[in-house]
Symmetry: C2
Subunit: 271 residues, 2 copies
């Protein structure tokens, strides 16, 4: 019954796992493919993978796995986590080095330039890793989360960091059995026929039925350059008569259409 997530401790995946599954055993794994593989081998387990981030867009590693023909799990739920960044360090100490992930360093570049024009920026794998490294080095700080301050014994020097619009990360909970009731959204993997306008023709029946698309991305098919899979999420359950009608028509424009899950969407957690 354990829940695997993309580790290490205090990643956004860990924060959302703690909020959603406070009583289940949480298992950090080092990569998204390993989370999927773990769930595949343990029929009672679940896995949490990030699908989209408001600062850096769709997560290609997750899209890649969902579109893989060997993917046999279901999307059971969509979760979201709203995170504001904090500046972590030691009060009164001079800051020579600032650690963070590439996305916050990029999005807060104006604030950094004004506040710390001389600081040396160090790009690391995650905001959690940034806090860990800052905890080892006296003249350093991290753009990270408040939770990481506690874990690594740092002080919150500033929160929220100006310039930072809240980062919303969306996640899928993966498991073996389809979600039960309450589904609001459905995700599909589609291989379109190679024909001019096929994406438009595929989308037309959804517009006719008044169904909204939430996200869409084209993804190359390995070994077949210029052939594309599409991953998309439609804002309706797969039991909705309009969805059934639309997919029946849309299917004609595809070589392949796979249901990845029809699932509830939970309200965003805050951290």
């Amino acid at each position: 019954m354990s829940v695997a997530f993309l580790g290490p401790a205090q990643t956004f995946s860990h924060l959302v796992a703690k909020k959603r599954f406070p009583k289940r055993k949480l298992l950090p794994l080092p990569s998204i493919p390993e989370v999927v593989e773990y769930v595949r081998r343990h029929p009672l387990s679940s896995g949490i993978v990030p699908i989209e981030n408001s600062s850096s867009g769709m997560i290609p590693e997750t899209v890649d796995l969902l579109l893989d023909r060997s993917f046999s799990l279901c999307i059971r739920e969509e979760l979201a986590l709203r995170v504001r960044l904090a500046l972590l360090g030691r009060r009164g100490a001079k800051i020579k080095t600032l650690y963070s992930h590439a996305a916050p360093l990029y999005h807060c570049r104006n604030w950094i330039m004004q506040r710390f024009p001389e600081v040396q920026l160090r790009r690391v794998a995650s905001t959690a890793e940034a806090a860990r490294l800052a905890s080892l080095e006296p003249a350093s700080a991290a753009l990270s989360t408040r939770d990481a301050a506690i874990l690594y014994g740092l002080e919150v020097l500033e929160y929220p960091v100006a310039d930072d619009t809240a980062n919303l990360t969306q996640f899928f909970v993966l498991g073996h059995r389809p979600a039960g009731s309450g589904a609001r959204e459905t995700s599909l993997a589609v291989l379109l026929k190679e024909k001019v306008g096929s994406l438009c023709s595929f989308l037309e029946p959804f517009r006719e039925e008044g169904l909204n698309l939430k996200r869409i991305v084209s993804h190359p098919v390995m070994g077949h350059p210029n052939t594309y899979f599409f991953f998309l999420s439609v804002q309706a359950p797969n039991t909705d008569p309009r969805f059934i009608q639309a997919t029946e028509k849309a299917k004609k424009h595809t070589w392949e259409m796979r249901l990845l899950g029809s699932y509830p969407v939970r309200r965003p957690y805050s951290s």
Copy 2:
């Protein structure tokens, strides 16, 4: 007149830069935003950024920069590089550790399981970094490129690696002035009106004119969850009367439409 690219030496970006600009000064930079920033500050320079990879899809960091309203450069060219992986190591030595980037480790997992069932896998930032690390450790090997073998004094133990379909990576050359003649493709940044079916309505005029889309991705707008920018490439120059006709109609369904460049597409290089 230098050409900035995503370093370090022997990354795919470096390989394609050497093929395309053999006589220009090549400048490795540590991140995609820094490549863009360098070009912005040096009016005569160019920059090479990866846009899409057949093994891991669209590169979100590049899409993010292209969609940023402050992006003021032009896409001047599309390049492509076809790379086959090689197993690098020392002939006769036992292999206990195998280094590579996450994508090759994932896509070659069946081959790895059969050939090296006991090996310890180490995920690192790039295939070039994998070769560097393998060069420091006797009982290790790397899934990397043949060029990296020369740089780091390793032997090519196997090439191409079975299970590996050639990896095609596509790049944009960025610069200050629009591409001259020979344009074949046009990329756009689009902010659609929030209305059911707006993506379909936006695409319809392109289908009417018989114009093909090459890639499309929705990208969240920072600070506005559920509002999406779209990045797309259309297979026509922006001087094509059909393109002009289509974008004029399509524009009505957008709040914003920006031309990112209309540019030639070069035939893939091999490495």
